[in-house]
């Protein structure tokens, strides 16, 4: 009897489980790739809100560092990424385009900047305008690296981000490496905390940073001038950078270096996902998706100051206060999203 009862119970259990999964089966499934910085999170939140409410999709978002998330996209595990820092990853993306692993879906944020920044009070006091102004032992002392006596510290990218190696090469080319360490802060959150903490204490900051970011609206950082962007020069430098990424810092050879180009942040999808005819409406939507830098900054400010750290509320706020998104989607989807707001 007991055996029979157990058997019956397990059947009921299995039945419930099966029902549970079938009822959760949505019209489509999208796996978004997200990164560990806030502007990417905003785009992922907005896109997943529209996909969920408008298209009735089951959206899964995976957050991580650049390399693993891009690798997952190339491996077809992730379907769509809404913010790709294409110019930092040129080589990688072009290789995979050639292999047919990914499809690019156009520009998301038309302009973004990245570069070396110094806090405004220090920059004004010592007249720091360009990277050349930084090359002095006295200036370096202001940004003293407590763990490397005699050197200043420039908080740089995380060693997993390509810009870490770019900064490494730039330091050598500009001659900054004699005065400063290219300090890996370990994670995106740690870099933000280091900058915010220095501002709270009124200490000088010398750091790599970028826009659009939420933090940029709160602190006063001045961008240092670098040699003007030149495509040929950038290409030469990227070759050295990729070589170092593969073979370690010993393979460095003198190259030319210039500022980061004001780059377009793009979108990409995995080929398997994009080539599936069922996904065409979604691909069309992502293709149309584009948010200007100023609006990304606004959303980030809302996220930081008002939402209480709620990305979904930030996405809702964006959708409520803008109508640019209405052009990205067909009429019925627009109605559904509007209704859910």
């Amino acid at each position: 009897m007991k055996f029979l009862r157990n058997l019956l119970l397990s059947f009921v259990f299995a039945g419930v489980m099966a029902l549970g999964t079938t009822s959760a089966n949505a019209a489509c499934k999208v796996h978004l790739g997200d990164f560990d910085w806030d502007s990417a999170n905003v785009h992922t939140a907005i896109a997943s809100y529209i996909l969920e409410k408008g298209y009735g999709c089951e959206v899964q978002a995976t957050k991580g560092s650049t390399t693993p998330i891009m690798a997952a996209l190339f491996d077809q595990q992730i379907d769509i990424i809404t913010e790709v820092w294409r110019d930092n990853l040129v080589q990688l993306i072009e290789d995979n385009l050639a292999k047919g692993n990914i499809i690019e879906l156009g520009v998301n944020t038309p302009s973004s900047t990245q570069g070396f920044y110094v806090d405004k009070p220090t920059a004004d006091k010592y007249g720091l305008k360009s990277v050349d102004d930084m090359k002095s032992a006295e200036i370096a002392k202001l940004f003293a690296d407590p763990e490397a006596p005699g050197k200043g510290r420039m908080t740089s990218c995380i060693s997993g981000w390509t810009c870490y190696t770019i900064n490494l090469v730039k330091h050598k080319v500009y001659g900054l490496d004699k005065y400063y360490t290219n300090f890996d802060p370990g994670s995106g959150g740690a870099l933000d905390a280091a900058i915010a903490g220095a501002f709270k204490k009124g200490k000088p900051v010398f750091s790599y940073y970028w826009t659009p970011t939420g933090l940029m609206g709160k602190v006063d950082l001045v961008k240092l001038e670098e040699p003007a962007y030149d495509a040929a020069c950038w290409k030469e430098m990227t070759a050295v950078v990729e070589d170092i990424k593969k073979n370690g810092p010993d393979v460095y050879k003198p190259t030319c270096a210039c500022e980061y180009v004001n780059m377009k942040l793009t979108k990409a999808a995995s080929t398997t996902f994009a080539n599936n005819p069922a996904n065409k409406p979604i691909i069309d939507f992502i293709k149309a998706y584009s948010v200007p830098t100023a609006d990304v900054n606004k959303s980030l400010a809302f996220y930081m100051d008002e939402s209480g750290g709620d990305m979904e509320a930030t996405a809702k706020n964006f959708l409520q206060n803008n109508n640019m998104w209405e052009k990205w989607v067909p009429g019925d989807v627009k109605k559904k999203v509007k209704a859910s707001l």
Binding site: P146, S159, G160, D184, G186, G189, A190, A193, G197, K200
Partner: protein, 344 residues
Amino acid sequence: MQKYKKYFKPFIYLIIFIGFIIIGYRNAKPRYKPENFTDIFNDFSWLGNWPKWLDFPLMQPLNAGFDWLIVNYGMFFEGINNFLLGLYTSMKDFLVGLPWPLVIAIVIFITYFASGKKTTTTVMVAFCTFFLGFLSPRYWDKCIMTTCIVLIGMGLCIVVGIPLGIAMARNKKVRNALLPVLDLMQTIPSFCYLIPGILLFGLGAVPAIIAIFVYAVPPLIRLTDLGIRLVDKEVIEASEAFGASKKQTLWGVQIPLALPNIMQGINQCTMMSLAMVVIASMIGTRGIGDEVLLGLQQLNVGMATEAGIAIVLLAIIFDRITQSYGERIQERTQKKKKIDYGKN
């Protein structure tokens, strides 16, 4: 009156609870609240999903408090920072400056005497130490950095943890007050104190040392407490019968008898410090942990595993030294038993 006394405590809790709800409601954003307070009793839709006005505002005061801490006590934290950093840099520079064979020789020396001249342990530890550099030459300096951070963190743990453990064992009130704090320290995710650590101390070794302290001190406190409480009542009574003062009982009887347990605590403390130092590489702490992190970020499985093995070796070295020293102490404090075994 006497009859209702047992309801007194729950009643206070209930008042506090209602107070919390009122604070939460008053602080909620107007757009989340119903237009009229009485709407709550007419429209029960808020019973479905957790309503947005039922939200205790903890984040803002915490942020404000934290800012206040930085602005007003910045100098104090700066002082701690400079002290710990000075200790760390001088120690690191000294050890990195030594020729590597000498460092291995020192490790062998320490192991040999800490383990009570056991050759097998010594040989094993020597091998492990050699393999740190042998795995990859650039690991050597990084392992030294990690070791320095772990040692300083452990020193801090011992200085604070053992007295606290003793206090806990001797006083029930201290025990009741400390236990929830220890539970909190052990369960709160490490990033909750790693990121504030950066704001207070800047990137690098010091927030890692603080994180090690928070993460690794609870087992030491607990095991010290346990060790002292496990000392036989009869033994303490005997010492009191001989006229020992409380202080003499503590130093002459309780601590020596609790030493094996305290050593176990120190051993646990070391292992947890090592685990934390790897996580701390995410806040820019230099050491062998950033090799793992780099391997992970570059999807370089070989690199991450190689560095992982180095960390395991480092853990074995620490473990064997503290463990064998603990065993030796145990043998010393329980010598009589050992002789008995010999007779059998």
